[in-house]
Symmetry: C2
Subunit: 274 residues, 2 copies
């Protein structure tokens, strides 16, 4: 089921700036036991993104109306698990790249089935590769979840099959930034949680924010910092996260292996209970 | 009039990857005296872009069918001038960023009216500003006209009104790259045509390619190279180009003034006759 500006329809204007320029933002919300997860964090990031791109924020009440209708649809279909993707674009219009401040934003909400993960990743961990496609540095767009995602599309095309679950992307200075669809965390030998700073590129995941909060509450030391490719051997554990997968332990990045250790398991446990 | 995959319709799937990720390309084609301009160069760039993004090229015959139908529509409306925008996306589908190699691309062709320029820019020249929004370096995407255009949208939002016609964008190393909607050329005191190299960022405009070819045929020396912001004073003339505007002389970039000189006028003349 798809809602476009509150109407049940599966199309948008061919003139929408989301299509023309990727001029918009999105959120991917997990639905578990018929409850949308981390909604506050999703709306906060969406509002931050709108402010950054100067797109009028549609307002939480309209967004929640969409969510409630999709949840009701899922309940009737007896599907307690699912994904709701929310897209907000600047709408249709403007001449060229120029936009008017008072444009009518387009609000899209898409309900889809829970993906058919293999299901064991959370327990047994996943292998990752370092992608050749790098993330470009752009502080104007860093951190927000905008619709310009060709770098991720190109990086994800670098492998196929199920042996590799995620590709890790670097910036041009060989800093580790994130996975194509996830954020990445490391745990050093002092049990500090380390995750890359995202002020130059990358998406600040809501699950990343949630995990940092959980880790802080659990008494972990946290270091949000530059992580160099050459630092990989400094860490004893690694994991990736996003809104849908929660925490997946990382057992290897290219030829560098990690054990699934106590910090990762502790955070998984706390995340599960949160 | 809008054609989507050859059908007269003004909507696309809300699941199209062009909307979801900017996963596609576009061309903006000028129509003059009922003739589409620089078509060969447009199709060549589109095909190059498809190859780079691993999107199946729709083929010239399908694209030309769309063009012919829009031209017929324009003729019936007695509009000999206009713009045809062609968008090609990877289509709808795939799971997340991953795509299948055999996806059905989406082909969109949009006919619109010739823009209401003030009309004197070609003669009297235009003022430009240096934008604060920089272009990020990404060799994987440099040169092609893909749909990830948030940098241009943000740069174009830096000014309003008619005093400034174009914003010039730099990379992170203070190289001059291009305008938000145009390429830029300079002419040095030895009458060499200088234009920025676009191997790290920027769009290689079809008009840029056309002008370089015309300049070469006219016996100008050409230098496609890095242009530093501090080089501005080295040049005696400057102009910007794109498919719609042709050549607009630049009379100033921020506080740096240029005369409209003989090389710019000679190229305008040759472009007009080509």
């Amino acid at each position: 089921m798809i809602l476009v500006n509150g109407n049940v329809q599966d199309t948008v204007s061919a003139l929408d700036r989301g299509l023309a320029y990727g001029d918009g933002l999105f959120e991917t919300i997990a639905v578990r036991d018929s409850n949308p997860q981390l909604l506050d964090l999703h709306w906060q990031r969406l509002e931050r993104g709108c402010a950054r791109l100067k797109i009028p924020f549609p307002g939480i009440s309209r967004l929640m109306d969409d969510i409630e209708r999709l949840l009701e649809h899922a309940r009737q279909a007896q599907k307690p698990s699912g994904i709701i993707k929310v897209i907000v674009t600047r709408g249709a219009g403007g001449r060229g790249y120029r936009f008017e401040p008072d444009m009518n934003v387009t609000r899209i909400a898409i309900l889809s089935d829970w993906p058919s993960w293999q299901g064991t990743e959370r327990d047994t961990g996943v292998k990752c590769k370092i992608c050749e496609t790098q993330l470009s540095s752009q502080p104007v767009l860093a951190g927000i979840k905008h619709l310009n995602r060709l770098e991720q599309v190109m990086a994800r095309a670098e492998w196929s099959g199920n042996d590799i679950a995620e590709g890790i992307m670097l910036d041009a200075h060989d800093h580790i930034i994130e996975g194509t669809m996830s954020n990445i965390f490391f745990i050093d030998r002092q049990q500090t949680i380390v995750t890359p700073a995202l002020d130059q590129c990358g998406v600040a995941g809501v699950q990343r924010e949630n995990i940092l909060s959980i880790a802080d509450n659990a008494g972990f030391k946290i270091d949000v910092t530059d992580v160099n490719l050459t630092d990989l051997e400094k860490y004893s554990e690694a994991f990736i996260s996003n809104s849908l997968i929660g925490i997946w332990p990382v057992t290897g990045i290219d030829k560098h292996d990690y054990q699934i250790g106590p910090a990762t398991r502790a955070l998984q446990e706390k995340l599960f209970k949160s």
